[in-house]
Symmetry: C2
Subunit: 339 residues, 2 copies
Amino acid sequence: MTATLKQVAERAGVHPGTASRALNPATQALVSEQTVRRVQAAAKALAYRPNSMARGLKTNRTTMVGIVVPDLSNPLFPPIVRGAEEVLSRSGYTCLIADTDNDAERERESFETLRARQVDGLIIASALRDDAAVREAAAQGLPMVLINRRDDQARLPAVTGDDRDGIEQAVRHLVGLGHRRIAHLAGPSSLSTGADRARAFRHLVAELCGPDATDMVEECRAYAVDEGARAARALLDRAGPPPTAVVAGNDQIAIGVLDVLRERGLRCPQDMSVVGYNDMPFVDKLSPPLTTVRVPHAQIGAEAARLLIRWVGGDSSAPTTTTLPVDLVVRGSTAAPAS
Amino acid sequence: MTATLKQVAERAGVHPGTASRALNPATQALVSEQTVRRVQAAAKALAYRPNSMARGLKTNRTTMVGIVVPDLSNPLFPPIVRGAEEVLSRSGYTCLIADTDNDAERERESFETLRARQVDGLIIASALRDDAAVREAAAQGLPMVLINRRDDQARLPAVTGDDRDGIEQAVRHLVGLGHRRIAHLAGPSSLSTGADRARAFRHLVAELCGPDATDMVEECRAYAVDEGARAARALLDRAGPPPTAVVAGNDQIAIGVLDVLRERGLRCPQDMSVVGYNDMPFVDKLSPPLTTVRVPHAQIGAEAARLLIRWVGGDSSAPTTTTLPVDLVVRGSTAAPAS
DNA sequence: ATGAAAGCGCTAACAC
DNA sequence: GTGTTAGCGCTTTCAT
């Protein structure tokens, strides 16, 4: 079907070994220029495509890397994947994308599959904080870079958005508008981002609004609209004065809050300001358009890819943890509190 | 690093060939039960994972299939990929996902990469109607299934939502509400879905509203919000009575229409009804919530995967074209026209 | 600068 | 039922 190196060599009148050298940029220098040209011409004529399995078998590398994401349908992840893929493909790597569906069992299977395919490295964006599969693979020395989560034990390089600063920008924005009773609907504390953002929130609110202001935190069991709604109801049903503003753990949760406000006849932003997180596509089309924290997802993916390539390439310097800056995007869902 | 078959065989005290047979479900019957057990135990003890490259080199199959999508960030595609992946992984296939970014050059490169990786087959959801790369691969007998586009020449199996019926449901819904001046903001005619939906629209509107009703069609140059907005402005700037309802080529275009209505002080649905297409996530959170056509994306992916598996498996019956039913989801963006 | 030869890990056709 | 052997397509060491 596809031509083999042997056929190319034959057509060029050289030995397969020579053809191999002529076609490989790294060894091309060892071959006379004329031969290189002849071999290349033959390769082109036969539409030669090197068999990556044969090469991989010989070199013990696949030039494939796995990307593990918890849910491709979450608009967060496609840009990460794209960013990573772009960098990786430029270095000759092909991506194997595994969607774990936020399920530990599926994650295990994905890992198994990826390792069976002998990927050269892994980018892991699935954010379970305790993760046997990751630890095991790390122990075996498989290059891995984490995204959106810190590494608890294995000392792996990680790339994240600056969660602390994102929350800080959101809270400072609200405080600047005059809010003092600010709540947080946190993501699951089992996820790195959920825990980090909640911690940052508590810390900053204690500083800016006093220590008793920190108890207005409700944890969602998932980064999902209905969980955001549930938590919002719980928040509003509490005794005492309700918050005038909410910082949501992500945009889906924020949408849940908007739903509940509507359901209860409260207006946003007049009765309650709402801030999201991630700046998903089309949250600017909601009414009101959502104020949210923009995270450079594509850059995060790209940076993770760069770290991984370096590691796979043999650079074994200390694992780097990179934090990328985020930006608050102010839209219509935040305003000064009714006085 | 990972144990080889030879090591497993050694540990089990058998020849590598025997170990191979014992581990392969298809040939397991040729080996005594006792040996199978011994080999399996050895494999487990050594955490043996077959080297897929070596196997592939021998069998000339990779058990990898490529999935080519135009834009992973378009919420349309992740469910398709997931649906396909689920079916494929159950049959032991791994997916190579290529995002072409709607770019012909990148599509060519992706194709090249995928073929260099010797995928066993391809699912193609990138919808350029004329496509040299696809034709070439088809000519070489590579199993391929198309999604969301018909095959112009190569007679390939295809899986799509029922575009004609989707448009028909939308138009009948509007006519039932009393609309007679109905416009269509079509997707690019270079894409299969754009052309098909526009054709279906013209056909049905001619039938239901009279032949002169069919000229209210504006073509968008992309399935994008700003193109929808541009086309909507063009539509509203036309001489003569404006339409009372718009069927958009997809949800992004519909969002562009909503933007323009707001920009011009027109209300939806009172002044203009709007119908989208695809039922993207969160279009039910717009105001008004968008009436749209729901397409079973995951099933489309799954069905394409099934067809592909059948073909890769050697079944060479005539290419099937499958059309899956779609459903109009009525929400707040459509109502009876102001009389 | 190029040819020869070995071998990556596996499977399958053939022997026994 | 199991061992033997050859070879998939490539890279790479060793000669020349």
